[in-house]
């Protein structure tokens, strides 16, 4: 009798384990789907994985917003610690790094033509190409002019 009950319990436990495994597999699948979606588009994996982990309850937007808000605080403290003597190089280097917008230009230039959307894709290529040139002027110009300035700051000999 006792053994029968134990057997029953074990079976129930096995069922539960199976259900848990099933759930885990479903979650993994969901994560995989999200990851695939993200991979097919731009990089959105961090948000998507967290999205899946939270059971889909939290939108990736919230994660981006969190990063954004925290980065504003980081920027606030980092910039206050910049010495006033270097405020001009600060402006030119922030100029250079904001040209990381070049990633958007690269995506637009590199996109493959979608059937039925050839005209739109051609426009995107054009916009992306001009944006790429502008951003690269800024990247090279910004970093080089900053290093030229910084090379001039010397200590008393």
């Amino acid at each position: 009798m006792a053994s029968e009950m134990a057997l029953e319990k074990a079976r129930a436990a096995a069922d539960a384990a199976e259900a848990a495994a099933e759930a885990a597999r479903a979650a993994a699948d969901a994560a995989q789907t999200y990851a695939d979606q993200a991979a097919s588009g731009a990089a959105d994996a961090a948000g998507a994985i967290a999205h899946a982990a939270s059971g889909g309850a939290i939108d990736p937007f919230v994660f981006r917003l969190a990063v954004f808000v925290l980065a504003i605080f980081v920027g606030y403290y980092v910039v206050w610690s910049v010495t006033p003597a270097l405020h001009t190089p600060l402006m030119s280097v922030t100029n250079a790094i904001s040209s990381v917008i070049v990633v958007g230009a690269l995506l637009a230039v590199g996109v493959d033509a979608v059937a039925g959307q050839e005209a739109n894709t051609a426009w995107a290529h054009g916009f992306g190409f001009v944006a790429l040139i502008l951003a690269s002027v800024n990247i090279f110009g910004g970093f080089l002019v900053t290093s030229r300035m910084l090379a001039m700051y010397k200590k008393k000999s």
């Binding site: 731009a42 610690s81 922030t94 100029n95 958007g104 944006a131 080089l144």
Partner: protein, 464 residues
């Protein structure tokens, strides 16, 4: 490359950008910081190329674009004179703004490349994020172009006041908001371009009424805007590097604007509303100053400084205009050879952009540890034998400290009037940007040296 690795690498490049700014806390670490920034940028570009591998023709365009843009950028960076730095920074801001507009246009025309849906069914959220980026980007573009023209002297630095400009601006801002909502609902390309056009007009109207002397605030503010525009696009792309960078640049520009406003004792709102420097200058031009001033020659100045034990040099925008920094360094070298202690005092709003004077002095090989900020050196004027004011004016006006009726009352100033002798290099008796008379000129210990800042300094060097 998987999306996970890509997201991680974007994070790394964001962190490297933070380190780039962190390095600027001291001149010795700054070069390393700049190097971190370059690595961060390289990582971001390579990651994007690895994640969304371009087609064959795409590669050609990308290499071509990088080569053209990089070539132009490198050429400008090498050939630009240091005195032209404010207008160069303004021009670079305009490029970021325009690039943001174009990237968003690319996203609207080829949304599948950005993972935000397909043409006709782009997520509303992505549309709002990118249209915010577009609006701020377009404002940054025309605003920076106007700032560039003013700083480069191709457009009058005087504020240009349109009648009813506040009403026009508010109407434009409201129209842009309504259009953004309309775009989110319809995804119409026409509405998108309307947002671009209205924002371009808005950006121009916003900067046109702001006078040349307020440019330090404007240029920092546009710096901030270019960051927010990048962040808007970063949200659309879900790209960590862009979001982090946008936030960093946005807060950096905002802090610089705040420091500049404080340096002028003006509120940010009053700067934005514009008009400062125009009317007041005209009003002050009415009364001709009758009081006598003491005038001196280069020889007198040379004699006074040679026999001093401590000289504090106060440079301003006039030094930049006259390119007098090299002559100034020569003068300081001669004085140091005579055993005179020489220091430089920099007001936060001296020049046309934050840190403008420091860069010019560094260019002339003035060691950075001889250059001091207002709060670090102000107490030393009382022990100085000579204060040599070259190209600065309003930032030395004791009225800002003593006269509550003065329009610049409350503005922090360099206490040059506490020095035993004040040598004031100036072209003529005209007033500074605030359009008010400087009480300093009429003090007993002040000697006016009329002439071009560079020529006068060279004559002093010769007379030593």
């Amino acid at each position: 490359m998987t999306a996970n690795i890509a997201a991680f690498l974007y994070l790394v490049s964001g962190v490297l950008f933070i380190l780039a700014l962190r390095g600027l806390s001291h001149p010795t670490t700054s070069r390393q910081g700049n190097f971190f920034g370059m690595i961060g940028m390289a990582i971001a570009i390579l990651t994007t190329l690895g994640l969304a591998v371009p087609s064959g023709s795409g590669w050609v365009l990308i290499v071509l674009g990088l080569a053209i843009g990089g070539g132009i950028g490198a050429y400008i960076a090498r050939s630009i004179p240091m005195t032209a730095m404010p207008q160069l920074v303004a021009a670079f801001h305009s490029l970021v703004g325009l690039a943001a507009v174009l990237v968003a246009a690319g996203a609207i025309y080829a949304p599948e490349a950005f993972g935000i849906g397909e043409v006709g069914s782009i997520h509303a959220q992505a549309l709002i994020e990118s249209s915010l980026g577009v609006a701020i980007g377009a404002i940054t573009f025309t605003g920076s172009v106007i700032a560039f023209l003013k700083l480069d002297g191709r457009m009058s630095g005087k504020p240009i006041l349109l009648p009813g400009r506040h009403v026009i601006n508010i109407a434009l801002a409201a129209a842009i908001v309504i259009l953004i909502v309309a775009l989110a609902m319809t995804e119409s390309h026409t509405v998108f371009w309307l947002i671009v056009i209205l924002s371009l007009v808005f950006g121009g109207l916003l900067i046109v009424p702001i006078g040349g002397a307020d440019m330090p605030v404007v240029i920092s503010m546009l710096n901030s805007y270019s960051g927010w525009a990048a962040a808007g696009i970063g949200f659309t792309l879900g790209n960590m590097a862009l979001i982090i960078t946008g936030a960093l640049v946005g807060s950096s520009g905002a802090i610089l604007s705040y420091i500049m406003c404080k340096g002028m004792n003006r509120s940010f709102v009053s700067v934005i509303l514009g008009g400062f420097g125009g009317e007041t200058a005209a009003a002050a031009g009415g009364g001709v100053e009758e009081r006598p001033v003491k005038q001196g020659a280069a020889e007198d100045a040379a004699y006074l400084m040679k026999n001093a034990s401590k000289v504090i040099i106060v440079p301003g925008y006039g030094m930049a205009v006259a390119q007098a920094q090299h002559a100034l360094r020569e003068m300081a070298d001669k004085l140091k050879a005579e055993g005179v202690e020489v220091k430089y005092a920099i007001h936060p709003v001296a020049g046309r952009m934050p840190g403008h004077m420091n860069v010019l002095l560094a260019e002339a090989n003035v060691p950075y540890d001889e250059v001091f900020e207002l709060e670090d050196i102000n107490s030393e004027f009382a022990q100085a034998d000579v204060a040599y004011v070259i190209g600065a004016n309003d930032v030395t006006n004791p009225a800002a400290r003593d006269d509550p009726t003065s329009p610049i009352f409350g503005m922090p100033i360099l206490d040059v009037d506490k020095a035993k002798t004040v040598l004031f290099v100036k072209r003529g008796m005209g007033s500074g940007y605030a359009g008010i008379q400087n009480e300093l000129f009429f003090l007993d210990q002040t000697m006016m040296l009329f002439g071009d800042a560079k020529k006068m300094t060279e004559q002093i060097v010769k007379a030593m």
